[in-house]
């Protein structure tokens, strides 16, 4: 997985991670890199769009809360975060991991933080999908005895 982990993928994993899981896995690494803020964590909104008929022209559905921030490590790498919700600590950790993934720490962070987060998400999704599957209707036709 590490080989194919690009920035779009890891930023997605970080955004989708439950805050408490990211916090636990990040804390376990025991690293606290020095950084300066390019943009302090800021809470705002993004307009969510849908499409008429599911596939047609876009329309505005409503907004979603988003927290963003940008920081720069002392070694120069810049990390960004755009994450759903209003958790500034989570956004900060996501931006730190994004920045650190551009350093020689990329390998260990992918293995110890990103891969477990991605696996957890998959497991959560699978558990939900399997409950849905259990509610799938199996139709059967009653024998009517007409012959």
């Amino acid at each position: 997985m590490t080989a194919t982990l690009d920035r779009k993928t890891w930023m997605g994993i970080l955004a989708q991670a439950p805050a408490k899981d990211l916090d636990r896995l990040w804390s376990e690494q025991g690293i606290s890199p020095k950084y300066t803020w390019l943009r302090q964590p800021e809470i705002g909104a993004a307009m969510v769009r849908g499409r008429a008929g599911g596939t047609g022209a876009p329309f505005n559905l409503g907004e979603v809360t988003v927290t963003r921030c940008s920081l720069q490590l002392q070694s120069g790498e810049v990390g960004h975060a755009y994450v759903q919700g209003r958790n500034k600590a989570k956004a900060t950790q996501a931006a730190l991991v994004d920045a650190m993934m551009q350093t020689e720490m990329a390998g260990p962070l992918a293995t110890l933080v990103l891969e477990p987060l991605a696996a957890d998400r998959k497991a959560t999704q699978r558990a939900r999908a399997s409950k849905a599957a259990a509610t799938k209707v199996e139709f059967f036709t009653m024998a009517r005895g007409e012959d």
């Binding site: 920035r7 779009k8 930023m11 997605g12 955004a15 989708q16 800021e42 809470i43 705002g44 909104a45 993004a46 307009m47 969510v48 769009r49 849908g50 499409r51 008429a52 008929g53 599911g54 596939t55 047609g56 022209a57 876009p58 329309f59 505005n60 559905l61 409503g62 907004e63 979603v64 809360t65 988003v66 963003r68 940008s70 960004h80 755009y82 994450v83 759903q84 919700g85 209003r86 999704q125 699978r126 558990a127 939900r128 999908a129 399997s130 409950k131 849905a132 599957a133 259990a134 509610t135 799938k136 209707v137 139709f139």
Partner: protein, 362 residues
Amino acid sequence: MYVAVKGGERAIDNAHAWLAEERRGDTSVDELSVAQIREQLKLAVNRVMAEGSLYDPDLAALAIKQARGDLIEAIFLIRAYRTTLPRFGATEPVDTGAMACDRRISATFKDAPGGQVLGPTFDYTHRLLDFKLAAEGEVPEAPHAAPREEATPHITEFLNQEGLIQTEPVSDEVPSDLTREPLELPASRALRLQNLTRGDEGFILGMAYSTQRGYARNHAFVGELRIGTCTLEMEVPELGFAIEIGEIELTECETVNQFAGSKTEPPQFTRGYGLVFGQTERKAISMALVDRALRWKELGEDDMGAPAQDEEFVLYHSDNIQATGFLEHIKLPHYVDFQAELELVRRLRREVMGDVQQEAAE
């Protein structure tokens, strides 16, 4: 006429203090936490997010607690909070075809690929009060089965293959936003859909029901109803590409409606569309019916004079915050207005009574 009046500050402060106490209720009963509301009153949370037009379950739960369960008051709180947020941008349109479905049913095709998946539904319950819920207890875990790995296709696609249903014109035009510009008529379909998705559930339901009872009858089938989560992607200016920023739960309803054809179109089915935040299926079905009724002009149908066909009537009365704001303001002091009315009625009475007395004297 408005005249500044002072006074009442102590009464207002005391009223609000009492409100806080009443909100808490009997202190020998445990206080309700925001997390409890978020997890256990989820459908109320969904309604507040949909009509508050802001997806944030924690905020919606807080608003419900603060509003003492008055959902329109809670929606008002969310709308007010929403206006304080800077907007970072817009997401890519959600791909509902890739939805991770908790529920997916069709009233038109029994054997649709992906099947009829009921999900956590009230349908087929007996609507008898369950007194077991009054006592605390463990809930048994829901059964599992082998999950579907691939995405569930939209059912209208199958009708589309035969050309039996009207296709949705694909575009990437930036839709106008009624939270940024005042609503002007005639409204584009994009504006109508935005208005309906944040409109009052009761109002949209009533309008939809009126079309079923014969006012602008267009006989809708629920081609598909799906509930589940969709990934949100947004283009980030600092990066120059789109990234996932989170995921939201959505309810989507596609109706398939009769259509006899027009001068330019052969007979085919037409569509109504509903898409709403959260698990909100009554609202999504209602939205699809009203969307379809409002499309009469572009489909070359007759104006039956039905309320649900009247874009101005529907779009200007669907918003419960606008409605309640105007409605509830009449309870606030109108002393001077009323004083003028009082004077007028007294004068008219004097004139009429004076005439009567004069007639009696003659």
